[in-house]
C-alpha cells in the first residue's frame, strides 16, 4: 500500500473531475457538484490511506505536497462553482489538479524527495492552492475588464464584480495564511521581502479598485484600468520578483536552496 496504488486513485479522481467539468459546461449544476465532490472524496481517501501507512502527516516530500495541491485545487473549484456558478471554473481546477497528479504518477522519485524544513508546514499547501485560485479569478476579471473597455456591457460589469469579490477574498486568505505560516516558521508575520511587498501592493491596489467601484460607480473606465494595473502588479508578485535584485534575499527563494 502507499504510492504504488496512487495511479488508480488518480485516474478515478481525474475521471470524476472531467465528468463534473462537462456537466458544469452543460448546465447540469447539481450533478456537476455531486461528481466533483466525489472526486474530492476519492482523493481524500488516498491522502488518508497514505497518512495511515506513513504514520505521519504526508507533508514532507515534494510528491506529498503535489498531492495536497491536487486536493485543495479540487476543493477550491467545487466551492467556487457551488457559490458562483462560473461554468469554466471546474474545467480549470480539473486541469491544474490533473497536471499535479500526472506529475506524481510519472515522476515517482519525487515521492521521497524531502522539502526543505521551512516548507514542511500545514500552512504551505492551502497558502499556495488558494493563491493559484485567486490568480485565476482575478485573471478572468482582468480579461472581462479589457472586454468592457472595448465593448461596454452591463452584464460584463456584473461578472467582473463577482470575479473581483471571489478573487480578492481568496487572495486575502492566501496572504494571511502566508503571514501565519511566517510567524510559525520565523517569528515574523511580515518581513517585507520582495514577494511580500508586491503582494501587499497588489492587495492595496485591488482594495482601491473595490472602493472605486463602491464610491464612484460611474467611473467604469477607471475601474477597469485599475483592474489591469492590479493584475500587472500581480504578475510581478507571482514571478516578476524573481528578476529583481532584492529577490536573492527573499525568504520565498526556495528553489535556490534546494
Amino acid at each position: 500500500m502507499g504510492w504504488s496504488i496512487f495511479p488508480w486513485f488518480a485516474t478515478a479522481t481525474a475521471l470524476l473531475a472531467v465528468v463534473a467539468s462537462v456537466l458544469a459546461l452543460c448546465n447540469r449544476r447539481t450533478s456537476a457538484i455531486v461528481a466533483s465532490t466525489l472526486s474530492v472524496v476519492v482523493l481524500s481517501g488516498f491522502v488518508a490511506m497514505l497518512w495511515l501507512t506513513l504514520e505521519r502527516p504526508p507533508m514532507r516530500t515534494m510528491g506529498e505536497t503535489r498531492l495536497w495541491y491536487s486536493l485543495f485545487l479540487l476543493v477550491a473549484g467545487v466551492a467556487t462553482y457551488a457559490r458562483w456558478r462560473f461554468k469554466w471554473v471546474l474545467s480549470f481546477s480539473t486541469l491544474l489538479s490533473t497536471v499535479f497528479m500526472v506529475i506524481n504518477c510519472l515522476r515517482p522519485e519525487l515521492h521521497d524527495k524531502s522539502l526543505m524544513p521551512a516548507l514542511q508546514s500545514a500552512w504551505f499547501m492551502p497558502h499556495v492552492a488558494v493563491y493559484m485560485f485567486s490568480y485565476a479569478l482575478l485573471g478572468v476579471a482582468t480579461l472581462a475588464a479589457v472586454f468592457h473597455l472595448i465593448k461596454r456591457e452591463e452584464r460584463v460589469l456584473t461578472a467582473i464584480d463577482k470575479l473581483l469579490g471571489g478573487g480578492l477574498a481568496l487572495f486575502t486568505v492566501g496572504m494571511l495564511t502566508g503571514a501565519l505560516w511566517a510567524k510559525q516558521a520565523w517569528g515574523e508575520y511580515w518581513s517585507w521581502d520582495a514577494k511580500e511587498a508586491w503582494a501587499a501592493a497588489t492587495w492595496f491596489i485591488y482594495l482601491g479598485a473595490i472602493h472605486l467601484r463602491l464610491l464612484r460607480p460611474k467611473s467604469e473606465r477607471k475601474f477597469c484600468l485599475l483592474l489591469i494595473v492590479a493584475f500587472l502588479s500581480l504578475q510581478m508578485c507571482w514571478y516578476g520578483v524573481n528578476y529583481l535584485p532584492t529577490a536573492t534575499k527573499s525568504v520565498h527563494s526556495y528553489n535556490r536552496n534546494n
Binding site: 524527495k113 514542511q120 473581483l164 517569528g187 511580515w190 517585507w192 492595496f204 472602493h211
Partner: protein, 272 residues
Amino acid sequence: MINSSKYRQLRLGLLGVGVVLFGAQWLFGSFPIWLFAAPMNLLIGALWLVLVWEGFRRRTTLPIVQYLLSAEATYIALAVAAIIALVLGLQSSPQTTSWPVVGGFFYVLTVLSLVILRGWRNEGGVRWRFLITHCGLWLAMTSALLGAPDKAVLRAEVGAEPTREAVNEQGKKSYLDYELRLEKFEVENSENGTPQMFRAVVEVDGEIVDIEVNTPYSQRYGEDIYLVSYEKNSCILQIVREPWRGITMVGIAMLLLGAFLLFLQGFGGAKQ
C-alpha cells in the same frame, strides 16, 4: 460639505506633511522608535484615539475631518499604502522605521479609524462584513505600528553549557531571565548534503523541550523560541518577544472571517 478651495488647501497641507517627513528622514535618520516603548506608545495611542473620536464628533465643523472622510482621502490612503509596500520591497534592508513609512501608515490608520466610526451606525446588508474587515485591518496595523517599539528579536548560541546570553538585531548583548542549554541536536541531510530536517532538544530553565523549524516553543505569552540554524556543537535560537501578538492575531482572524464572508456573500459592486 467643504468647498474646492478648502480641498486644495488640505491637499497642499498633506503634501507639506509628506515633505516634512522626508526632510526629517534626511536630517535625523530613521524614526526613533525606541523612544515610544511602553508606556509611551500606550499614552500616544490613547491620545490619538481621543483626538480621532473628538474630531469625528465635530466633523460637521472641522474641514480636515470632512476631508479625511472623503473618497479622495481613502484613495490616497490606499495609494500611500501600496507605494510604501513597493518601496520597502525594492530595498535590500527594508527601512520600516523611516519617517515617511511611519507617517504614511499613521495617515492610513487615521483615515481607517474615521471610516470605521462613520460606518458603525450604517444600516445595510453588509454592515457586519464592513465592520469585521475594517476593524480587523485596524487591529493588525495598529498592533504592528504601536507594538513595534515593544518588540524584540534576540539570538542566542546555545551549546552544552547553560547560557542566558543573547544579542539583539543591533548586535547589543542582553541577558534572558531563564537559562538555555542544548541537550541534543539531530540533523537529517539529503543526498546532496542539504539539511532536510533539524531538531534541537533544549533545556529551558530545567524543562526539556523539542524545537524544530515550524515548531517553536512558547516560553510565555508573547515570547517564543525558534530554531533558526546550527553550528558544529551548538544551535542558534531566536527569541521573539511580541507583547502585542494577541491583538495582531485577533486582527488577522477578523480579516480571515471578512474574506470568507466576502467569498460567500459576494461583492455587489455599485449596488452595494
